[in-house]
């Protein structure tokens, strides 16, 4: 119960943050990626602001032994720099640059954006399913 409420609250705050910072607007995101053109550095400050709060917040939260609703913290332990990491990031970067949407804004934009969001989101979910299918068929390293 508490865990579910926390999930809803965290999603709400995340969505409000994305909207206030205009990261739900693909043109704004493309403005950041347009480094050789009319560059808009805003996205760097969104990430910087988020990191400043999260770095301090994580430091304080991890002084506890466990989260409020759970046995332990689930922090990724994999440190390998491998080809799936780099190839995946390259594919993601290419798709991000083609449209100006990443997974958060693609969901947050559903109710405030145009029909294009639905096309992008359907394709993105298909891509995730394709990856899962390839993984289950042992086609991935």
């Amino acid at each position: 119960m508490g865990k579910n409420f926390a999930g809803l609250m965290a999603g709400l705050i995340f969505g409000i943050g994305l909207t206030i910072s205009q990261m739900t607007n693909p043109a704004k995101v493309l403005g950041f990626l347009n480094i050789l053109g009319n560059w808009d550095p805003s996205l760097a400050l969104v990430m910087g602001g988020a990191m400043a709060v999260a770095t301090l917040g994580y430091f304080l939260v991890w002084k506890r032994k466990s989260p409020v609703f759970g046995d332990h913290f689930h922090v990724p332990t994999n440190n390998r720099i491998d080809s799936p990491l780099v190839i995946g990031a390259m594919m993601f970067g290419a798709g991000w640059g083609l449209v100006g949407l990443c997974p958060g804004p693609a969901i947050a934009g559903l109710a405030i954006g145009g029909w294009q969001i639905w096309v992008f989101l359907a394709a993105m979910l298909t891509g995730m399913a394709v990856h899962e299918g390839a993984k289950r068929a042992n086609l991935l390293p």
Partner: protein
């Protein structure tokens, strides 16, 4: 750089950081949107509902801002239908293959000083910038 909006970027970014800290404190989980989204379906049975509610909150947050805001929220997307499809597929496969996106690797990963996340972020921002620049040159701008 006349599009630069440093204050709303920092304010929105801080809220995104706050959301990540809240989720870690309550559920012990990283606020990575691509991971949360796919684990609505793929996660352990008791770990699906909070993720679904997070996604719901992510959709409701922007709606709340729009109701409270006096001005319409900017949303501008110019990608053609094939670009929306291709971009969505690349983002879907890429974020799963590379284990994260702007939130999981960007905000959460960098905030816990993960080298793996740093490699991912530098790669997807770099490829995103190259993609936007190439698209712009092809369009003759």
């Amino acid at each position: 750089m006349e599009n630069f909006t440093p204050f709303s970027a920092l304010a929105g970014g801080s809220l995104i950081g706050l959301s990540a800290v809240l989720l870690m404190a309550m559920t012990g989980r990283v606020a990575g949107i691509s991971g949360i989204l796919s684990n609505v379906v793929l996660g352990a049975p008791g770990e699906r509902l909070w993720r679904l509610l997070f996604v719901l909150g992510l959709i409701l947050g922007p709606i709340m801002v729009r109701i409270l805001s006096s001005e319409p929220l900017p949303f501008e997307i110019t990608s053609s239908f094939p670009l929306l499809l291709g971009g969505g597929l690349l983002v879907g496969v890429g974020t799963r293959l590379g284990s994260g996106c702007t939130s999981g690797h960007g905000v959460c990963g960098l905030s816990r000083f993960s080298v793996r996340s740093l490699v991912s972020v530098v790669t997807f921002i770099g490829v995103g910038m190259i993609t936007v620049t190439v698209l712009r040159l092809l369009a003759g701008g």
